[in-house]
């Protein structure tokens, strides 16, 4: 019996540590720990709620914009503000492009090297690689010459003995199983995807001024005014053309590169459809309103909960049932560590009680993480693309059903195969494709509004703080690419009194709760085979399939009272 530690877990956002107990080549228990804390909710207290989005967006830049959107929604909810249709559309387009960007980067740059041996590419036959690529896709970059060039580039890198990012990979590990030609094709697409993501996200530059950390959100709408006749308008016909063109290129890349690659790679690792099984209950807040924000029945991706791997019933979501434990987290609750507290009444008093650094192991019997353990109705929930896809599938969303059934048929697998490491990967790719199919249409809708003179982009009725009630509370829910995200705000005397976030990776990477129930990562790692425990590649496969984002996951709720009259100081 041995305890192994993976810290830092790399190719993720933020600071994650995994400790695992290994017996007979298998993981028998696991602990997930977030090892960084900033306290951003505490920092936004007493500030102007209209600018909270600028601050909270900095929770994470890999998921840039998601906290900005949740934040403006929370304040709009508190102050009862409806945003104009154009703002809804711009927000949906920004969000959809974030999904596409994030998912592509995740597959190629954060996850692929768990399945693809870069050095394997050296042994490939470029002609056969070209045949393989052409058998999978229409993508034009598929000639023998092209792949030979990529191979030469890799072999020069290896010969120079300066492998840069590839220096420390688990190359030659027995768990790698792609034929060399597939390795070479994947390395080529890794490089292409680096360029693709950069070009594609220029959509955010147009709609947000910059990426990462867009700067066009406003409580009440967006700053991107549109006008068919003004060349200096942030959005005009020329920029609409640009958006449409970039969106179209994403559809091509996703259809011709991402999707075929995901299917091809998965085909070589079928046993991972049976590994990495999560807690079995799934939560999605739903995303992409097609009407008012309150009309959740019109969301493009539906809201709902699945319990115990049962796809026959979608349960409604009641935000009141969300609560967080700190039993194994480095915080105290005044009522003691046995209770779970809902975000609206959240409380966080950071109190580190782990070993003094430098340390070799955490004390996992006690508190061991900066993440709390959120629960829904006291149940562990998995969130993210798999949860969204399963909820949409179970809710009967036709387009999703067809897509999912197509993939299952391709692998001759039952729906239960989706509750797995590869299930997460497949779901993420399917969702990317779905959004790449729709983003072009949403840009078209925005253009139609512009052409027909429907130009409202901001609702300024409640912009002036003088129009606000003395106190107000609200929340904003959103499905970030990594899963369910909620911000809760309390406003008093025109300033933030309390601010709280419950974030995707907290759901997935959180520690045990008062009942000793493991968080989703901890559960999914059980039974993971390790061919070489010194090089725990298989642990990375399952952890990465969730797409961890730790900067998001650690936050503070309502530390009691040390903030000194900031609001007065700044007015």
């Amino acid at each position: 019996m041995a305890r192994i530690v993976v810290d830092p877990v790399t190719r993720i956002e933020g600071h994650l540590r995994i400790e695992a107990q290994v017996e007979n080549g298998k993981v028998t228990d696991a602990w997930s720990s977030g090892t960084m804390f900033r306290g951003i909710e505490l920092i936004v207290r007493h500030r102007d709620p209209r600018e909270a989005w600028l601050w909270t967006q900095r929770i994470c830049a890999v998921c840039t914009m998601v906290h900005a959107l949740a934040s403006v929604r929370a304040v709009e909810n508190a102050l009862d503000i409806e945003v104009p249709d154009n703002a809804r559309l711009v927000r949906n387009i920004i969000s959809a492009s974030q999904y596409i960007h994030d998912h592509v980067v995740h597959f190629y740059h954060l996850h692929a090297l768990d399945w693809v041996d870069v050095t394997g590419a050296l042994k490939a036959d470029p002609a056969k690689t070209s045949q393989l690529a052409q058998s999978l896709s229409e993508w034009p970059k598929s000639s023998t010459t092209y792949f030979r060039g990529v191979q030469q580039r890799v072999s020069r890198l290896v010969a120079s003995r300066q492998l840069s990012l590839f220096t420390s990979g688990y190359w030659g590990h027995p768990a790698y199983r792609l034929p060399p030609e597939a390795d070479l094709m994947a390395v080529a697409h890794y490089l292409e995807a680096l360029e693709f993501q950069r070009e594609f996200i220029r959509i955010h530059a147009v709609l947000g001024g910059k990426n990462p950390h867009l700067q066009s959100f406003l409580v009440g709408g967006m700053s991107t005014s549109l006008d068919p006749n003004e060349p200096q308008a942030p959005l005009n016909p020329e920029r609409m053309d640009f958006l449409a063109q970039v969106a179209q290129s994403a559809k091509t890349f996703v259809d011709q590169v991402l999707m075929p690659d995901v299917l091809a790679v998965a085909g070589f690792y079928p046993e991972w459809f049976a590994l990495g099984r999560g807690p079995g209950s799934y939560l999605s807040y739903g995303a992409f309103p097609q009407g008012g924000i309150r009309d959740t029945s019109l969301y493009f991706l539906p809201r709902g909960i699945l319990l115990h791997e049962d796809l026959s019933r979608v349960h409604p979501v009641d935000p009141e049932k969300i609560a967080e434990y700190v039993t194994h987290s480095w915080y105290d609750y005044r009522e003691g560590d046995q209770v779970a507290k809902p975000p609206a009444e959240g409380e966080t008093n950071p109190r580190y009680s782990g070993p003094r650094p430098p340390f070799a192991f955490l004390n996992v019997e006690e508190k061991y993480s900066w993440l709390k353990a959120p629960r829904y109705d006291d149940q562990v929930m998995e969130v993210g693309p798999l949860a969204r896809v399963l909820v949409a599938y179970a809710a009967g969303m036709t387009e999703m059903k067809t897509a999912v059934d197509g993939v299952l048929a391709h692998f001759k697998a039952p729906p239960a195969a989706l509750f797995s490491t590869l299930g997460r990967i497949a779901a993420r790719a399917l969702e990317t494709q779905l959004l790449a199919n729709h983003i072009v249409g949403w840009i078209g809708e925005l253009r139609n509004n512009m052409q027909s003179g429907k130009l409202a982009i901001h609702n300024g009725e409640k912009w002036e703080p003088a129009t606000w009630p003395a106190s107000a509370r609200g929340y904003g829910l959103f499905e970030a690419p990594r899963g369910s995200l909620g911000h809760w705000v309390e406003i008093e005397n025109q300033a933030i009194k309390n601010y709280q976030c419950v974030v995707p990776t907290t759901w997935n990477a959180g520690p045990r709760d008062v009942h000793g129930h493991r968080g989703p990562y901890e559960t999914a790692l059980l039974g993971t085979p390790l061919a070489d425990p010194e090089r725990p590649l298989e642990i990375l496969r399952t952890v990465h399939s969730f797409d961890p984002c730790l900067a998001c996951a650690v936050h503070v709720l309502d530390a009691q009272g040390q903030v000194r009259g900031r609001a007065e100081a700044r007015t």
Partner: protein, 368 residues
Amino acid sequence: MALHEPLPEALEGRGISRRRFVRFCSAMVGMLALPEHYVGQVIQALQATHKPVLVWLEFQDCAGNTESILRSADPPVAEVLLDLLSWEYHETIMAGAGRQAEAVLERVMAQDTGQYIAVVEGSIPTAEGGVYCTIGGRTALDIARQVCSHAAATIAVGACAWDGGLVRADPNPTGAVGLEEAVPGIKVVNLGGCPHNVANTAAVLVHYLTFHEMPALDQFHRPLFAYGQLIHDQCERRAHYDAGEFVEAWGDAGSRKGWCLYKMGCKGPDATYNCPTVRWNSGTSWPVKAGHGCIACASHRFWDTMSPFYKPLPSVPGFGVDVSAEEIGWGVVGGVAGLTAAHAIGSALRRKAGGPEGGAAPPPEKPA
């Protein structure tokens, strides 16, 4: 080296065409405001066969600066990460994890000691013995001290690594500070911004690779070529400011005409950065172009000194509107070492108007 010489094999192997390479080198020389004859030297330096090693440390960060690096167009991101330098440690994107990742840092410090470039992203917590950020069981402070003190050059990217950034904003729950404060005595180049703009970072790296030293810096150790000019002086909406044409409400007719955002809280008159000229995402746009004011994200301690972000600056007179340069006196120009004349005058005006000093402001005292 003459420009017509054939491209060395090493470069061809990277799939870089001669013409593009030369164009890139010239662009860098232009951006760094170097005389044109340096192009040859830049070309030569970038063709070196042994690539300098770079390690990128992430502490209390949001990975915004990492994401920004991934947006590099010139040179293309794959070349930055694989070819220009040997980019060996960078948690968000490196292949290895855990022990294998830590081993890279140890090897670099042993084998390349005094020769590698260290880049730091994110602030460093100092409260409670540094427990607010640990990697591999060690504190950020411990790692920063060790890695940066053995580096040939250290670059702090983004507001957090420079001055503590958002994490350090009041009430600074974790005692976060920037790198210079956390590890006193090391030489740091600060690339402020939230995040840094990769166009500037690429230029700094190229400068370093060519001359083995950093470009000219201001009093905050920021490169002058990027941080020496007022946003307001480079802004495409400046003519509207001078003409008194302002956006008065979000989404109004003025906002559709691209009028000045001063009344909506724009901090451009009080902030320096080359954001309006370099722009973001391959030069596609910048915040003002998307209709939102500047938040002065490259100014010192901007989260505390420049917020509330929607509150207009105390009136800042424009040149020629109600105060002329002569009235301020040119003497002030020489008095502010290293800053451009425009910024010096701008600062003097702000002092006169009683406004905050922006980029030149001293760190504010923490409220008692």
